[in-house]
Subunit: 456 residues, 2 copies
């Protein structure tokens, strides 16, 4: 019995058209990453178990794919764990490697391990797959690409300004108009919590505020009260509930609101620098917006926080995000290395471009002309032309067998090949080629030089 | 205590220069793959356990990295295996996924799974990492890339001829002169065994013959005798031991030698077609050689067998190989799908190009100009120029902090950046930029348009 072929849930095969479209997005990203001075690195697909474990919280640890040791992996395993069937405790005894969960921890490990070869500040980009044992669902996969650009070793806010420009450059080049680049600052969020006297309730407060556009002002206030935030405290930040206007208007309101918080005012200052520079330099197609409800990975970021949302026409949510983290590499023994970075969501960007019809047609353009095979002599005559055409960069093919011409035309049709080249005895005698446009049906007989030009 | 950072043995980090060089090789391959009508596909990094196991022999099964199931993976494990510490038997109970071992089995699985979407003959290329739990050693890694081009669904020998051309195109384009593309045919090897009356000794015979250039004629004969091949049998194939001359000479000798074997003569005929077409069409920089000792994966191939060796100046051995296999997809339930394909050894090609100094300098060219940071006002003035330059595709950067100028120059130097752009108050007043060539030391003050030209 033959096996019924299938793939693990949460993974995907990519067809030629899908690979071409994904490569197109990646090539646009690479181009801009490099224009901005980011350099590519690559790290192994799996890291040592200890490098990854304990870096993403308990939930993260559970979602990391562990690799079983080779050979007689049970030989040194603890008998007690085995008889008790204690999966949790056994794992570290039978697995010493795990698939990477993201690109940030491997990057931190890389920086520390290669610190003597690296010239800081170091701008690296990395486009590689990561794996998570998450429950697969629409748009969430167990294997997916991350596309990250990070700078490590500088606290200059120019980096943040540049990262906003980088987002704008990539999305504008992809033809995506109306992308919103949202910015916030961890210090502003801390400042708000401080002002309302609820420093210890920062996360509850932020989680509730984040729901403003879904549940409205009353809903947010109700949740805050439920979480134990006092009514007078909420009153103090009333302006947040009607937070509108230009970026500058919002900065003005924020600085009034946070006047009493040193940390909060530091956050406002940082935001002002970044926004001012970005707006004065100008964005191509994107909108910069200050969003005080933005809190992605709150515990992780220490300064700027970014999130990018797709144009309103498509309901896709976040297509990118990032921020500044003050001690990227401390966990591996290299202190005081501030980092700031952004990430692009390849899968979602793909879906947005698809939905908006923004993939250029040329991206999936494959073979341009199929040479019809009338037999070995004719095929040999064709191959001489094919060799020449390919050396000039043209994508051309010979149908491999002497099959019925209708079958060969059909093959070209199904492959989306526009031209057929016919080389029968007549063409050989005249040293010519008959070029047939399979879309319009027109055909003409030409010498090789003209054929090359027509396919140009 | 901070963790000492490291990576699993047999894996590698790739620095920016290494990534750039690898990408260069890959981009050359892709270009030619596509010119020849091959289309890219990608498959998941891990496959179902059953898809991979049993496809590569017992040794292969051992070298496959298995992924531990998530959650309480021991819950359903057999108690007996656990108490007996039977690693072998337990594995399939606690692992249902494994990292791919090569790209051929996943390709076969892909073809069968997507057979209704595929238009045959299907030419696909695939450039992805594979993993093997092999003992790491010089040039052998546990994670490495395979770069494969295969055609499935046609028995036409034009495919073999084209694959030889494809090898030649890629290696010639990489500047590698004197690559030898060796060809043989499984049917010829079978024919020889038949002629000497040792059909059951095919592998022993081939393994011995393969050592001709190492141990000489006498050594080979001795090994054959030891393996139980009769002296008279060996006498019959005496010409093999002095197998020299042009491809055509060798074909002539072979057809005399194998006159009595139908299968052998079929092999000679196939070889003649392929070699004749390839030689008549001509190769750019490579040498085609008929090598009757060539037997890679003997049990796997059914027709042509290829192996590519690096130019003699470097002792690298095989940098590619492939062949025809008559039933690629049968194991997954799709019968009679003949396939033929070739593989490129990325790591070895890299080492060869490095050793021969063949990487173009432009490949690792990074940022062209560093704008020196004299403070926020000057930096803003710089950023306007930087934005313009980047939009034109130039790689330029601002040093992020207002540091000592000597430190900033040093940074440019260490990064290998040729130009510094100085924008002090004087430049701002004149709306000019001072461009300093850090290699020659010369500098000139220019308006933006000229700066753009100079960096062009």
């Amino acid at each position: 019995m033959a096996q019924k072929p299938g793939i693990p849930k949460g993974t995907r095969d990519f067809s030629p058209a899908e690979v071409a479209k994904r490569q197109y997005i990646i090539s646009v990203m690479k181009h801009h990453f490099e224009a901005f001075g980011f350099q590519p690195i690559e790290t192994p697909s799996f890291e040592n178990y200890d490098t990854l474990m304990g870096k993403y919280g308990e939930e993260g640890d559970r979602l990391i794919f562990k690799i079983l040791n080779s050979g007689d992996y049970l030989a040194k395993a603890n008998d007690e764990y085995l008889t008790a069937k204690d999966s949790n405790k056994l794992t570290s005894q039978i697995s010493e490697k795990a698939l990477r969960y993201d690109l940030t921890v491997p990057f931190a490990r890389y920086v520390v391990q290669h610190q003597n070869e690296i010239e800081f500040p170091f701008r690296r980009y990395q486009i590689q797959p990561v794996w998570r044992a998450d429950r697969p669902q629409k748009g969430r996969f167990r294997e997916f690409y991350q596309c990250d650009a990070d700078v490590v070793g500088s606290t200059s806010l120019w980096q943040e300004a540049e990262l906003v420009q980088l987002y704008d450059s990539v999305f504008s080049d992809l033809g995506l108009k109306g992308v919103t680049i949202k910015i916030n600052n961890r210090k502003v969020l801390s400042g708000i919590a401080e002002v309302i006297g609820a420093k210890d309730k920062l996360i509850d407060f932020t989680v509730a505020l984040d729901k403003l556009d879904k549940v409205g002002e009353e809903g947010v206030k109700r949740e805050m009260l439920e979480k134990g935030i006092a009514a007078e405290a909420i009153e103090k930040v009333q302006p947040l509930f009607s937070f509108t206007g230009s970026v500058n208007d919002k900065l003005e309101q924020l600085s009034q609101l946070l006047a009493s918080s040193e940390e909060g005012m530091k956050g406002v200052e940082e935001l002002r620098f970044i926004c001012e520079k970005v707006l004065e330099l100008g964005l191509n197609q994107s909108i910069l917006d200050l969003d005080v409800t933005l809190a992605r990975g709150l515990n992780y970021y220490t300064g700027a926080i970014f999130e990018v949302t797709a144009p309103k026409e498509v309901a896709m949510g976040s297509i990118g995000g990032g921020g500044r983290y003050d001690d990227l590499t401390g966990i591996f023994g290299l202190k005081s290395m501030s980092g700031v970075g952004i990430s692009f969501g390849l899968d979602r960007i793909y879906l947005v471009l698809e939905e908006m019809g923004l993939f250029p047609e040329t991206v999936t353009e494959g073979t341009k002309a199929l040479f019809i095979n009338f037999g070995d002599e004719e095929a040999f005559y064709s191959m001489k032309a094919i060799k020449k055409l390919r050396s000039l960069g043209h994508k051309v093919e010979l149908y491999p067998d002497k099959a019925k011409v209708s079958k060969q035309f059909q093959h070209a049709d199904k492959r989306g090949i526009t031209f057929a080249v016919l080389t029968g005895q007549e063409e050989i005698d005249k040293n010519m080629f008959t070029l047939k446009n399979l879309v319009t049906g027109t055909q003409e007989t030409l010498p090789l030089e003209d054929l090359i030009q027509r396919l140009g």
